[in-house]
Amino acid sequence: MNDFILSSLIFTPLLAALIVLLLPMRFQNTIKAVALGGALVQMVLAILLYFRFDGTAAANGQSGYQFVNKLDWIGFSLGSLGRFQIEYFVGVDGISISMVLLTGIVGVIGVISSWTIKKNIKGYFLLYLLLLTSVMGCFLALDFFLFYLFFEFMLLPMYFLIGIWGGPKREYAAIKFFIYTLVGSLFILIVMIGLYTSVIDPEATAAQLGMLQDGVANSDVILQVQQLLQQNVIEGANIVRTFSIPAMMDPANFIPGSLLHVLSGTVLWDLPIRFIAFLLLFVGFAIKVPSVPVHTWLPDAHVEAPTPISVLLAAILLKVGGYGLIRIVYPIFPDGGAYFSVLVGGLGVLSIIYGALCALAMNDLKKLIAYSSVSHMGFVLLGLASLTSEGVNGAIYMMFSHGIISAMLFLVVGVIYDRAHDRMILNFRGLAKRMPAYTTFVVIAFFASLGLPGFSGFIAELLVLVGGFSAPDITGMLPRWLTIVAVFGLLLAAAYYLWALQRMFFGKYWIFPELREKAKLSDLNAREYLMLVPLAILALVFGIFPHLLLNKIGVAAQGFTELVLRNGQEQLQMVLSTIVR
């Protein structure tokens, strides 16, 4: 069971997708049932994993991952240049466990929300399930190639889901989404190639050198191999290159003389090549986060996507960006993280403020929420840039909390759009009179999102801000004024939410005349309760009992900060020293 739980998590939706593929088009209810079944099994497995995951286990280096499953996938000899290998390597740690749980939950909510889709159901659920597989794969992959495969494979289902089932400008939004994210992932691809040509798998190299007794590598042997490597005495043909992310995190695994080695001393456009690699990766993931100024695809994609796809996009797809930064960019290039902390934090604060200002200016409720996503994801960048334990905990907590709350927000927008086929704020007034239950959930979602104490958003923002404020003293990373500016984001969030609430829901009931004929403003139905109630409960539970999640994240986040800080300072010195010379 323990060996297969992660693989089952990834491949259950794929299996369901295959069943959907084989079902004839006319069995519409069966197709829906299979999709729901697939998502439900994935959720149950995710919850099971969450409870079984041991949050207290140390998470340093290779040994910190739990439920690891490692299989050979592609192995190929490069002649005198050694071998390269790609592994099916999955595992979970404190950073990914929250994302896995989130994906499981939102996946089911999304299927329920998709119940009203009418056009081409078979194709829709097929793509939906493929999307779930690839997102889950992204969060669990520990091999860079495997990660990249899932990362890129997300784009295609999403392109069709927006482009076929979306709103009036769907074609434009779909292609914009596709091109933006693809360009981002090409930056990632370049660095991935650079990394795998530079990094060895010490275990497999030891096996190649015949240093293993009984086929097991203990830490002594690995250390020995790493020393041999750094002394440059291992023959080229015996070197095994790898895509393994944990191997890339250890600077001792970099081949001396390779471009991305800390001492390579290669300079491009006046920057050490490691810094450029950091920036490329950062841009690649920042597009996905999204961070200002590469966020412009998001409002279009959100506005045009059908409700369930908006939910998925905001709740879990954006998280892949933040997750990539935490899993890949910072641990592999801690020197860049230390050097560019002001840039990353600055972009985070810019996203917070600019996103909030845009949200304030929007007349379309869905666009408002899309920009609020930009604003909230800015906190992830800020928390990460602080490199304090609180900040990183807060960043991960923010990703989880935003996942839950943004799902709720987009569902709430979907409710009014389903009924009135319109969602312009100024076209409605006094909806509270007509739809009291709906208004209650809108209020809950808005307040949760603007960071009212008692909801999960508050904990996340608090942690990030504490991290940001303590950073100058503890890690020396961010100037204090940046965090002070970020606080204004909270104020703006309150402004745009409360203003929207006041304009749309309070006052005398009124609706734009042209909408009156079509609009049937009935209150929430059972299906909508089924989606909104669990999300509201989750937002509350994780707001009141933050230790539920922090207990799982804490050790890993601590380990992450220590690793990044220690390696970061050290490697930064080394990188800069090679340049002066």
Partner: protein, 504 residues
Amino acid sequence: MKEQAAYLSQTIDAIIAGLGSLMPELLLASFFLLLVTLDLFKSSTIKQLLPWLALTGLFAAFVLQLLGGYTSGGVQFLSLLRSDSLARFSGVLFSAAGIFTILLSLQSKVLEKLKEGRGEYYALILVLVLGLNLMAKSVNLLMVFLAIELVSIASYILTLTLKQEKRAVEAGLKYVLYGTLSAGVMLYGMSFFYGFTGSLNYTEGTFWQALLQADTLLVTIAAILVFAGFFFKISAAPFHFWVPDVYQGAPMPIVALFSTGPKMAGVIVILRFVAAFSDPAVASYFDDVLLFLGIAALLTLAVGNFTALLQKTPRRLMAYSSVSHAGFLLMALLAFGTNYTVSVLFYLTVLLFMNYGTFLFLQITEEKFGTHKLEHFTGLGYKLPFMGVMAVLFLLSLTGLPPLGGFMGKLLIFSNVWEAYSASGQVLLLVLLVAGALLTGVALFYYIRIPYYLFLKRNLTEEKLVISLSNKLLLAFFAVPLLVLFFKPDLLLNWIEKLLAQTL
């Protein structure tokens, strides 16, 4: 007189000794003769048999080269040809391309209606494949020229298969004019080389040693002239102007063949030529030639990808796509010091499947719906879902997205270029790498337009249509290897590696 007789008998002995290494070519030649002879009969049963006969010939050559063993490796045929494993593997690819061309032709309604010249058509495909084989085996400049001309002449006639159509005639004429011009230029360059070295065997060390004595500027000019001819064959910029017109005018199976066969053979010729530069002692002398090649690769990538953006017809779009792939291959050939040969051969294999798949899809839609413009694809994905999905697979593989073979091909090439940059520190390589990667984003923009019309745009009628089972099977046949080559590329890579290790 006596000396001459002795020389003659020596030569004949050498020819007889070398014949074994030419088995696949001899096989193709005899099937060609058989086809031409049988074509003289008026009986319609015999005429019906011709494509199958051609198929048999190609298949026999395919199996022969796949199994190998007909040559003891590296045998020279009068120092003109070399039957090494590189030639053998590319021979497998050429035969496969020929087989696929005939399979596509058998599905084509346009060719079925063709009254005259069906026999010639199939016979000339055999000649073309024969020429490709010779190109890949040539180690002598004159032989290279002859082989290229053999391929070209077959190509000119095949372009004109549908001679009733105006665009076919236009395409044929343009092709001949550009072709003869570039052949002349290439020959001129080769004559320089002969003048410098007194030898035509460009794979030998003495040839390059002699060149090192000559004036750098002249050698560079001569090399560029020779490359003009090679570039014409692989449709690299700035010798790509014939490509869109020929792709517009020739029958679809022939376009598919042009987009793969001559390109693959041209790449092998360049590979053999450039391999000499990888020797550091020689390389420094040919810096300018390398710079030229690098700039040509960059130019080809840029021209191919950006011009493709502007195209409104699927055939022209694929023409510029083909140019951009030539750019990728050129870039791969510059990654000295790495095992780029393996990557190039892998990429060629992937290219074979994805191009034939795409052109089969285009042939089906063009003959059934008259899709002469991209808009004509509107809503077809809903009428023919299976074909639509297959088309998406092919086009995404051409773009280079996972989980398809096209991604693996690009990944391997990029890795080689990175490795080479890492070793040599040449900025040009880094520029190529970054440009190649970023242009993939541009490529997505034009490739995705076909799926965009297929699935995102809808038209009013949504009745379901059917395509023949043979077409479906063939589409799947081209698509499955793309998936396999992504998930288990090491199957092919290890085989190529093993093959290359045998003789080199």
